[in-house]
């Protein structure tokens, strides 16, 4: 079998895609944003809760899409819990560089900070799938942005 394909669809990604973590509603006060990829129909709603200092205390999502978009949303919901908005944003930057294979993606500390998200690095060999992997992140960034009520799209 194709090594790049094996790298893309690692067991952990298929597992997250099939059994996404934090695939639920958030009860009580929360801020939600839609993410939509019109090209493939991937659609999700991501909700988050923050404490008085702005720190993210809970993230959950619901929706439907391919294994990559569901796995990426699932992992996002695990890694950004407890982060500040600035930390989450830095994480997205690093994650985006990892996916696009830009210079610096392999640099130690930044890569380390991504933790389990590194398993999605295989997406870089599949440029048409980068949008799938970043859909939930775009929804997260929109949800962290004050006053933005527009749905986000990756198109």
């Amino acid at each position: 079998m194709d090594d790049e394909l094996r790298e893309l669809y690692q067991q952990v990604i298929i597992d997250h895609g099939r059994h996404p973590r934090n695939f639920r509603r958030i009860e009580g006060d929360c801020r939600c944003r839609q993410g939509y990829n019109p090209l493939c129909g991937d659609q999700l709603e991501l909700c988050l809760q923050r404490d008085a200092q702005g720190q993210i205390t809970d993230v959950a999502f619901q929706g439907q899409g391919c294994a990559i978009s569901m796995a990426s949303a699932s992992m996002l919901s695990e890694v950004v819990k407890g982060k500040t908005p600035a930390e989450a944003e830095r994480m997205f930057d690093a994650f985006h560089r990892l996916l696009t294979g830009e210079e610096g993606a392999e640099q130690g500390a930044e890569l380390e900070s991504l933790g389990k998200l590194r398993v999605l690095a295989g997406v870089r060999e599949f440029p048409s799938r980068i949008k799938c992997a970043t859909l939930a992140w775009h929804a997260l960034m929109a949800a962290l942005e004050p006053g933005n009520d527009e749905p986000v799209t990756t198109e």
């Binding site: 194709d2 893309l8 298929i14 099939r18 059994h19 129909g41 991937d42 391919c66 048409s128």
Partner: protein
């Protein structure tokens, strides 16, 4: 060689084997595997005679048409008009004047919506379409309905992909001013019984536009027999170039219509006070037309007719039956669109994997299929799907191509697991 073959040996030479070599692109490899091109409903590959015709035109005949009084322009004009006559013959239209060259099906439908329907629709009038239309036979009608206050009505689809004919009969009410219907569904493959539906609409005086984009590569279309008022199709799904297609319209109707776009070619006399329009079909061909691609399209029609559309159709029917049986054996796979009368389109979903994941894995096996909503989002919604994977066949596809597809789908099953034994980890 034939002489040495035993008398009762079966000839396994299929259409695909004979023709594959005519299509240079099919020799390509994808990710180190031979390309298996199964996205023909999106666009088909081009045979050598079409490529040759394009090159010959640009190398030997290029000049503007209907303008110059010199030999080269006359040659270009003759080639362009011969292409029009070729299209007329291919769809058995009554006259050359009824063939308008346009960019493709989408442009043709937009022309009819704006130049035919818009001046005629009143608030409360209805335009009738079906639930299995491509966006290009939905959105132009939505636009014209918004412009005029008319209503869009939709013939529902049954679970197997056939239109609900009893609902159709009821929807043909006194306010319907136009029926716009696809001949063959691009997402499901359903062949609509358009001859009967056109006759039914005509009994109530309702004109009919048929979107023939998915039909002309697979079925013999005889417009004098069908009696459609408008028929639109594209060249690029018919082994011709992109950017060229045709609108057929009945002469009587086209003559009563105002032009759609203004410019050169479509006029007979212009002053600043008044313009007299050119005769058909030039009235609807403003500006320098797509001469080269019209000539390329004519070469494609020659190619198809030399093989025989009936031969192509029989080949595709066999392949469709073979593919249907094979796909039904793949664990977790469900075919979407199982109408008894179908063109060679196999739309499916898998319990294990999303269409985009399927498509990515197939691509790595050299297999090109379309994944997504197929520009038919209302139809996908009707079936409760975000999209499907779609394998669509053409004359150069073979059983071997289907076998490679099936093997690649087993790869999906191996990778994503057997859907029936899904369990938490």
């Amino acid at each position: 060689m034939n002489e040495s073959m035993p008398f009762n040996d079966v000839d396994y030479t299929t259409l695909a084997e004979r023709c594959r070599g005519d299509f240079p692109l099919l020799a390509r490899q994808m990710h180190g595997r031979p390309l298996v091109y199964l996205d023909n409903a999106a666009t088909s590959q081009k045979p050598q005679p079409v490529l040759d015709a394009l090159q010959y035109y640009y190398r030997q005949q290029n000049a503007n048409v209907h303008r110059g009084v010199y030999q080269l322009s006359e040659e270009a004009t003759a080639a362009y008009e011969a292409a029009r006559a070729r299209v007329q013959r291919f769809i058995n239209a009554a006259a050359m004047e009824e063939i308008i060259f346009l960019r493709g099906t989408t442009e043709a439908i937009n022309l009819v919506a704006q130049a035919y329907a818009r001046p005629r629709l009143q608030p409360g009038d209805e335009v009738l379409i079906s639930a299995i239309e491509h966006h290009s036979n939905i959105v132009p009608w939505q636009i014209v309905c918004r412009q005029t206050g008319a209503q869009l009505r939709v013939i529902p689809v049954l679970d197997n992909g056939e239109l609900d004919q009893s609902a159709f009969a009821e929807l043909l009410g006194p306010r319907v001013r136009l029926l716009a219907l696809t001949h063959v569904s691009n997402a499901l493959g359903t062949i609509n019984p358009i001859a009967e539906m056109i006759a039914q609409a005509h009994r109530q005086g309702i004109p009919v536009l048929i979107d023939g984009a998915q039909a002309v590569p697979h079925l013999r279309v005889d417009l004098q027999a069908l009696d459609a008022d408008f028929y639109a199709f594209s060249g690029h799904k018919l082994y011709g170039p992109t950017g060229i297609g045709a609108l057929y319209g009945k002469r009587r109707i086209l003559e009563a219509m105002e032009p759609w776009q203004g410019g050169g070619e479509m006029i007979s006399q212009v002053s600043f006070e008044h313009t007299d329009y050119n005769q058909l079909p030039y009235k609807f061909e403003a500006g320098t037309p797509n001469i080269a691609d019209a000539i390329g399209l004519a070469a494609a029609l020659d190619y198809v007719d030399n093989l025989g559309l009936e031969v192509i159709a029989a080949h595709e029917r066999q392949l469709l039956a073979y593919g249907t049986r094979a796909l039904q054996q793949v664990p977790g796979l469900r075919l979407i669109g199982t109408a008894p009368d179908k063109a060679a389109i196999l739309s499916f979903v898998m319990a294990q994997a999303h269409p985009h994941d399927i498509s990515t894995i197939l691509d790595r096996c050299g297999v090109a299929v379309r994944a997504g909503h197929h520009c038919a989002m209302p139809l996908m919604q009707r079936f409760g799907l975000a999209g499907t994977a779609r394998a669509s066949l053409a004359l150069y596809n073979s059983r071997q191509d289907i076998d490679v597809l099936i093997e690649a789908l087993h790869q999906v099953v191996r990778m994503f697991g057997d859907a029936t034994t899904e369990g938490g980890q």
